[in-house]
Subunit: 116 residues, 2 copies
DNA sequence: TTGACGCATTCCGATATGGGAATATGATGG
DNA sequence: CCATCATATTCCCATATCGGAATGCGTCAA
């Protein structure tokens, strides 16, 4: 069994959106379907670059292709982002608490020091 | 300037949570602070493994440490997850639409074929 | 001071990644 | 069938990543 260096980028949505350019692509596709060339041009990347990122996004199911003659139109399929949203949402009540909890730590520490 | 192969794992929360084990750690820490050894044991990973992942989480600010004598207690700091939640949330209306839009595609295709 | 314990770091190997450049594939119009 | 345009793939490089094993380091108790 080979040693796995890291979960493949193509394995899930979490990995797919870890790459900034892919996030940009997804954001762009909210405005509607786009052929590869447009994606590349609008985001300032090379054609092979766009093509590769779109491949990853397609493999994790965040994007769909449909042939339109000579072109291939890529469209958003955001369903795969829902689990991500839910997972992160599981921390919602913590990012409000955090400040207070940290303040408490700090106060405890200060007090402890003064008492010594 | 060196060629960057991939955004460093330590660069942001998106990358940090791309790794399943780190997600597990964050989830575990919702239950409260833990020393490294506990994290490792409860999640079935090696001590150095846990230590390394915690380092990454600390570097992106998702986790805080505080020394408690011989131990170092790691605690959740979920504030960094908020931007992630918001970014993904920007697609919320799309993952409800998606089904319909895709169905439309399919129907269009079928109809086109029948007409030919 | 010296163990012993808890944790961090370093070194290593196998592998994955993103980008650039070049090239292959595919569909279309003529 | 051919030329062309749109896209995909391949190759190569520099680098990053994760895991395991070994080792370093800091703190505490006796």
């Amino acid at each position: 069994m080979a040693v796995m260096a890291r979960a493949a980028t193509t394995s899930d949505a979490f990995n797919a959106i870890a790459e900034p350019q892919r996030r940009d692509i997804l954001a762009l596709l909210r405005a509607g379907e786009r052929p590869v060339t447009d994606v590349a041009r609008e985001l300032g990347m090379s054609q092979p670059g766009a093509s590769k990122h779109l491949r990853v996004l397609r493999e994790v199911g965040l994007v769909r292709v449909r042939g339109a003659g000579k072109q291939r139109l890529y469209g958003l399929d955001a369903r795969g982002l829902r689990p991500v949203h839910e997972w992160v949402g599981g921390f919602e009540r913590f990012w409000n608490e955090s400040f207070d909890r940290l303040d408490t730590y700090v106060q405890d520490l200060k007090q402890t020091r003064q008492e010594e």
